[in-house]
């Protein structure tokens, strides 16, 4: 089921959470709403679910106006960051809840409910835990119960609010792979909110980058990473070196002329340049303009802090390359930039 958001605006007192947002979620895709806290992404998700009502705009679910509908009539599955499982019910009863509360005419028989719940618990690999209470499960297991519970009502859309936010790094990674696989299997239109760019880029078909109640860019993970539409997107997605420069005739002059970078686009005059750490090359040179101020090895990679005429830069390379270069903290070096994006200041 497709979702069409147009002109949605939401204010909380003086704070504008959403400022006339337009968005289309295609049927069957997995879409990420990515942004810093306060960017309005959760509010947008809650409006889609009917848990919040906007001040203006329209929301079409499968082509039909849905803003007047109550959450229970929207056929939307919602997964909360902190699971929101019913504490006094077993895992089985939690998953069965959505089926048991249906009006008498539509409610499946108890044998059918049992069959469906068992099936869902198998899907989320929690069959042995059916009789447990939520308090007896780990965070990852609870979130999978929450997912099974949301899927039990056979929703047309699955909405997930920071579904991995409360989990530790390893479980988070596992669960996110598992969710991707699940989505590939059942192809339910899904929207998830996250502030973790890695999560959005790895998991989503398309990423919506939000900032201050507006959408900055919509695109595939590769598009938003490789071709950020704005300075904000560039800065928000991944590590980045940011420095002020002056552009003259397609050449950006950085650090008082210490470095010249070729640029594309028609920017002239004062500008801000962005360079990803892995696009910054380092070569040892005894009379080079820059100095290596520190080297940090993180797993297979090395981060190199560089001081260029008072400007702090960060470069990234794998450890093998670091070994071949043979550089150490305190050495002087030359740097070259393979790729940079320049936005007018």
């Amino acid at each position: 089921m497709a979702i069409q958001v147009s002109g949605i605006t939401k204010r909380f007192n003086d704070f504008t959470a959403l400022d006339s947002v337009d968005l289309e979620v295609k049927s069957g895709e997995l879409l990420a709403l990515l942004g810093p806290s306060g960017s309005g992404k959760t509010t947008l998700l809650r409006i889609m679910a009917g848990l919040e009502s906007p001040d203006g705009g329209s929301l079409l679910l499968n082509g039909e106006e849905a803003l007047g509908l109550k959450p229970r009539d929207r056929q939307v599955g919602f997964v909360f960051q902190h699971y929101a499982l019913f504490r006094h019910m077993t895992v089985f009863d939690n998953v069965a809840f959505g089926l048991k509360v249906r009006p008498r005419g539509e409610r499946p028989g108890s044998a059918e409910i049992k069959r469906r719940v068992t099936e869902l618990l198998e899907l989320v690999q929690l069959s042995p835990f059916a009789g447990r209470y939520p308090a007896q499960l780990s965070g990852g297991q609870r979130q999978r119960v929450a997912l099974a519970r949301a899927l039990a009502i056979e929703p047309k859309v699955l909405l997930l609010d920071e579904p991995f936010g409360a989990l530790d790094a390893k479980v988070r990674k596992e669960l996110r792979r598992w969710l991707r696989k699940l989505h590939d299997d059942i192809h339910i239109t899904s929207v998830f909110v996250t502030h973790d760019q890695e999560e959005a880029l790895e998991l989503a078909d398309r990423v919506v980058v939000m900032n201050q109640g507006r959408i900055e860019q919509i695109g595939t993970p590769a598009e938003v990473y490789d071709h950020p539409a704005s300075a904000f997107v560039y800065e928000f997605l991944g590590q980045v070196n940011r420095f002020d420069c002056t552009v003259e005739g397609g050449i950006a002059h950085v650090g008082g002329g210490a470095l010249a970078i070729p640029t594309q686009g028609g920017v002239q005059g004062p500008a801000v340049a962005y360079v990803r750490p892995h696009d910054l090359g380092v070569t040892p040179a005894s009379a080079g303009p820059a100095r290596i101020s520190g080297i940090h090895v993180v797993g297979p990679d090395a981060r190199i802090d560089i001081d260029l005429a008072g400007l702090s830069l960060e470069a990234e390379m794998d450890r093998e390359r670091l070994a071949t270069l043979g550089i150490a903290a305190g050495d002087r070096c030359a740097i070259h930039i393979d790729r940079a994006r320049v936005f007018a200041r």
Binding site: A49, G50, L51, K70, P71, R72, R74, V76, G77, F78, F80, H82, A84, L85, F86, R87, H88, F97, G98, V101, R102, Y133, P134, A135, A146, R149, A150, A152, I153
Partner: protein
């Protein structure tokens, strides 16, 4: 030399293993918090002095009657009727409080309205008011010529003061704060997300209330009920004014005890007190067990 050192080491090891295993007290779990023995000892002796010694004295006093004397003292028709009045009406009042006290707590937590703080403070007044004052106020209000008693009598033919209904009203008045104050904090901490989850899963407000909210606050509600009930059973001051105190009809147990004391029937008074104590203890125990069972269903 080497061999000697070896055997020394082995010995030391053995000796160490033996000395390290200090005797562990039966109920004590290993903890870094000090003072287990001191605090447990203090708590038990405090409870002993404050609660157990007076109760034991009561039982000792009544035991002077002997088993058959005790039995005949507490099974006279007048005492049995008083038992019915006291426990029956306390139960009814506690039940009323459980329902309406919950409503008050609900409104105080969920809605904002002008004067909310004032209403919140008002809830505690029955705690602070001398019970005799409450009793006089209530009986003046509900007396056949009182502000409420008169219209109730004329319009519906209802008599409140000097009837069991009057007693129930007095007990409801003094018991209300217990339910409100036990339910309120639990209701306050109830996460909104669980209700939102229920709504998005298709539950109506009523279904959400019954299957999500009520189970979460039920233990607190039972506590409030038990407190209100216990208070009602022991209540004296506010009831004697509105009750009319007709033996066998509107005479409560505490009043009966006072009457027995005035007649110098100390052993009889102690016997009634002991029987009252027994019944109260059993009922509170049942309520406690009920609560424990409810809590264990979603234990951490």
């Amino acid at each position: 030399m080497v061999a000697a050192a070896d055997s020394d080491g082995a010995l030391a090891g053995k000796g160490g293993a033996v000395t390290v295993r200090a005797p562990v007290p039966l109920f004590r779990k290993p903890s870094i918090l000090p003072g287990f023995g001191l605090t447990l000892g203090f708590t038990l002796s405090y409870l002993g002095f404050i609660v157990l010694v007076p109760l034991a004295a009561l039982i000792v006093r009544s035991s002077g009657l002997g088993w058959s004397g005790f039995w005949s003292a507490v099974t006279t028709p007048r005492v049995l009727a008083a038992f019915e009045v006291s426990f029956g009406l306390s139960f009814a009042a506690a039940l009323t409080n459980a329902i309406f006290g919950f409503l008050v707590a609900w409104v105080l937590v969920r809605y904002d309205f002008p004067g909310k703080r004032l209403v919140d403070a008002l809830v505690d007044l029955p705690f602070a008011l001398p019970t005799a004052v409450a009793g006089i106020a209530l009986s003046a209000l509900y007396a056949p010529n009182g502000w409420l008693g008169k219209p109730l009598n004329e319009l519906f033919g209802m008599k409140v003061a000097f009837t069991p209904l009057g007693i129930a009203i007095a007990l409801t008045f003094i018991g209300l704060p217990f339910v409100v104050r036990t339910v309120q904090p639990i209701l306050q901490d109830l996460p909104a997300e669980e209700e939102e989850a229920a709504a998005s899963l298709g539950a109506s407000r009523f279904q959400t209330f019954c299957s999500v909210i009520l189970p979460a606050i039920l233990p607190a509600l039972v506590t409030g009920f038990a407190l209100s009930f216990a208070r009602g059973v022991g209540e004296y001051g506010s009831v004697i004014f509105i009750a009319g105190n007709m033996p066998g009809l509107t005479e409560i147990l505490p009043l009966l005890i006072v009457i027995k004391l005035e007649q110098y029937d100390y052993a009889g008074a102690a016997a009634v007190g002991t029987a009252m104590l027994g019944v109260s203890f059993v009922m509170l125990l049942i309520l406690n067990l009920l609560q424990q069972w409810m809590r264990s269903r979603h234990a951490r």
